[in-house]
């Protein structure tokens, strides 16, 4: 009975929020399939702790925190340096034309180190404060501020670089 209620509550939340979670995951990893897996892992971890999370309240924030930490953990295991210079995944074919700007932005975003990407996504996509971001990433607020500044600066540079490359083709 208790388990059934737990499952029903979780289903309601997951079905309402999984789309947004997958989009956040896509911004972090740049691949829809990987984003789908990341979303599923996030929901699995969330369900395992559902009772406690429900009692604590902020389920939404908890889910985003799990998502970001899972993403960072996965990339930490693979190795930061290798990932940072990885090729930007090509969009799957047969999906119609995509605006150049989006390609440039996404390519630049994917060339950022994962931790910078996570900070930027939490700050500007999720609209989280410095404190909330610091708590989710288990770093100090000073680190969040410096990584935000460096991430933005690096992203601007990369966008300019990508734009020159795209226009030069």
């Amino acid at each position: 009975m208790r388990e059934a209620t737990r499952e029903r509550e979780f289903r309601e939340f997951a079905e309402a929020r999984q789309r947004h979670l997958r989009r956040s995951a896509y911004l972090l990893c740049g691949d829809w399939h990987e984003a789908q897996d990341l979303t599923q892992t996030t929901l699995m971890k969330l369900y395992a702790a559902w009772g406690r999370v429900r009692r604590d309240g902020n389920v939404e924030a908890y889910a985003r925190t799990i998502l970001t930490r899972t993403f960072i953990d996965q990339y930490r295991r693979r190795g930061w340096l290798v990932e940072a210079v990885e090729e930007v995944p090509e969009p799957p074919g047969g999906q119609g034309p995509t605006p150049e700007l989006r390609l440039v932005l996404q390519a630049a975003l994917m060339r950022l180190p994962p931790r910078y990407r996570a900070v930027l996504v939490l700050r500007f996509w999720e609209d989280w404060s410095v404190e909330e971001t610091a708590r989710a990433l288990r770093v100090t607020t000073g680190t969040v501020k410096s990584q935000t500044a460096r991430g933005l600066a690096q992203l601007r540079r990369l966008v300019e670089q990508e734009t020159v490359e795209v226009s030069g083709r």
Binding site: R11, Q18, R23, M44, W50, G96, R102, L152
Partner: protein, 154 residues
């Protein structure tokens, strides 16, 4: 998405730009249809919870075993052994001397040699020739003799 982003002490002019960029990436990117991940997440979550519970139980059990082992290890080894209980004595008829050995009657029931030499202290270990093991048996025999004597007097 309209909140002003502060970068510590001031506002960042790139905040709006950044939000716009994220919107563009997500909305323009051809998003594949969402397959159901909820069912798989529930199954995986249950498995994860079971595993965590099993790990916790194993951890507690190991801690208990370690504690018991430590407690047993810390018990003093040279503790005084428990003296064997001597069988209870039946009351002897008056005038008959009590031949059975009893720890209570220690000095009176002296096993001291008649030549007056020093008796062996009671807490000293007995020689390991098996004589100590025979002690309770002899007591039994004596008690038996007493019983027979009692029967005869009746």
């Amino acid at each position: 998405m309209t909140r002003t982003m502060d970068q510590g002490d001031g506002t960042d002019p790139g905040a709006e730009e950044m939000r716009g960029a994220f919107e563009a990436i997500v909305t323009v990117a051809a998003e594949p249809p969402m397959r159901d991940v909820t069912g798989a997440a529930i199954a995986g979550g249950r498995r994860l919870r079971r595993r965590r519970r099993a790990t916790a139980v194993a951890g507690v059990s190991t801690a208990v075993v370690v504690l018991v082992a430590v407690a047993v290890g810390l018990t003093p080894v040279g503790a005084e052994p428990v003296t064997p209980v001597v069988p209870a004595q039946t009351p002897s008829p008056s005038g008959v001397p009590d031949p059975a050995p009893s720890p209570d009657t220690g000095p009176s029931r002296s096993l001291a040699p008649e030549d007056g030499s020093t008796p062996m202290p009671s807490d000293e270990p007995m020689p390991s020739d098996g004589s100590s093991a025979e002690e309770p048996e002899r007591a039994d025999d004596l008690t038996e003799q007493e019983r027979e004597r009692e029967r005869d007097t009746r």
